[in-house]
């Protein structure tokens, strides 16, 4: 599983940093998303799905491993 975070699309709402602070942070400069861990444990899938669903601009995407 791999996460991508698009800083161009991000509006710095910070849902990701609120829900999963170990995986996401926000830059000090403009609050845009900073990915701390691009390939987290598969056990985090539910949390990541919530992050994707709550990201207000669709900046966060997850690519699940084939067959996983």
């Amino acid at each position: 599983m791999r996460i991508t975070a698009d800083r161009e699309v991000c509006c710095a709402a910070g849902q990701c940093a609120l829900i999963a602070p170990d995986l996401f942070d926000q830059s000090d400069e403009d609050g845009s998303v900073v990915l701390l861990e691009a390939q987290p444990d598969a056990g985090r899938l539910d949390t990541l799905r919530e992050v994707v669903s709550r990201c207000p601009t669709g900046a966060i995407r997850i690519e699940e491993d084939p067959g996983a």
Binding site: C11, A12, A13, G14, A17, L18, P21, D25, Q26, S27, D28, E29, D30, G31, S32, E50, S53, R54, P56, T57, G58
Partner: protein, 364 residues
């Protein structure tokens, strides 16, 4: 549905469609096309938003302005403000203690805390705070007449036209000082930005703080759970935001072109309003949506909006609410209403819902 000016409009009551609308490129948040879904004398009459008033613009203008301040409102930065917020909360609770037992919680506590926090962040002197608060309140009242609104707007801009140039000559170590030193905004834009921050912060969190206390007092089982397990606080704040949805007149957008949305043909210029309270209690989205459950984990509410306009100050609001509820119920464990819940006077003619006053008492 019909809007009060007779124009056709649309109301969204489903959660999924609300999210789709608020991220849809064919719908605009620009002030010039927005019509109020409820009767009010105040209409924008096709006027564009003031420079810097980014909430009522679309991208790219919106994000150019918003990005200049987003760094101040991250999850981490707003958590770092907790000691300042705690100090203000406890000072107001000292006043509450002195005023009672028996006081109006709105007057002594809930309405002062968020406005003091924002004033401190942008460096507005304490002496101006209550006057600004009255102006913001006037503009948020649906029964506000045009002369009343003009007086409030001129009061606000009168203050800002003294305050902003003075700070431009002498930038302080605060949010406004940083914007000034950044050098990207002219005087008019700085004024628009300051006005947006003041109006966005003053009325919203105060009503949410008051409504949350009122609601917890009316749901003693939930309050007892919260007292037993303070770890539930973050989730309780989310649940109260969902359950109460004090921005009860919703978010509105207008169609930039003829568009098919949710199976409906919507014509260019028509306005769509998201019924936020309905959306946040959509039975397709939430189990037992009308039940307050502070242990609920499936939040994802839209009380703070969605899309690029999602509330800039949401994490600041979360911190104020968390600190405010914790400190209040900790210092006043016997806090209770002095009138039956249905006799609490409500601000039912305001953009943001909340109690007009909250008569409470406690054991000395």
């Amino acid at each position: 549905m019909s809007y009060p000016d007779g124009s056709p409009g649309w109301l969204i009551t489903r959660h999924a469609e609300a999210k789709e609308l608020l991220t849809h490129k064919s719908f605009s948040a620009r002030q010039e096309g927005i019509i109020s879904p409820v009767p009010t004398e105040l209409q924008y009459d096709g006027r564009a938003a003031d420079p810097g008033a980014f909430a009522k613009t679309d991208d790219p203008i919106h994000s150019q302005y918003r990005k200049l301040v987003t760094g101040f409102f991250t999850v981490r930065r707003t958590r770092q403000l907790a000691p300042m917020i705690e100090r203000i909360v406890h000072e107001q609770l000292d006043d509450l203690e002195k005023a009672g037992p028996g006081a109006d919680l709105v007057e002594v506590f809930t309405e002062s805390v968020p406005s003091r926090v924002m004033c401190e962040m942008i460096g507005v002197p304490e002496s101006e705070r209550k006057t600004l608060q009255r102006h913001v309140e006037t503009l948020g009242r649906l029964s506000c007449t045009v002369p009343e609104a003009l007086a409030a707007v001129s009061g606000m801009s009168g203050f800002l036209s003294r305050f902003v140039p003075a700070r431009m000559d002498d930038p302080r170590d605060d949010l406004l000082g940083d914007l000034i030193r950044g050098g990207q905004l002219n005087e008019q834009e700085l004024m628009g930005m300051a006005a947006t921050l003041i109006t966005g912060a003053f009325d919203t969190t105060g009503n949410m703080l008051a409504m949350g206390v009122f609601t917890l007092l009316e749901h003693p089982d939930q309050l007892a759970r919260l007292r037993e397990d303070p770890e539930l606080m973050a989730g309780a704040v989310e649940e109260l935001l969902r359950f109460l949805t004090i921005s009860h007149l919703g978010a509105s957008r207008w169609a930039l072109e003829d568009v098919e949305f949710a199976g409906q043909a919507i014509k260019k210029g028509e306005v769509v309003t998201v019924a936020l309270p309905a959306v946040n209690r959509d039975p397709e989205r939430y189990n037992n949506p009308d039940q307050l459950d502070i242990g609920r984990t499936d939040h994802g509410h839209l009380a703070l909006g969605h899309g690029v306009h999602q509330c800039l100050g949401q994490h600041l609001a979360r911190t104020i609410l968390r600190v405010g509820y914790e400190a209040l119920f900790d210092r006043f464990p016997t806090l209770r209403l002095t009138v039956p819940g249905d006799e609490v006077p409500m601000r039912d003619d305001f953009v943001h819902y909340g109690p007009r006053s909250l008569p409470v008492t406690w054991d000395d």
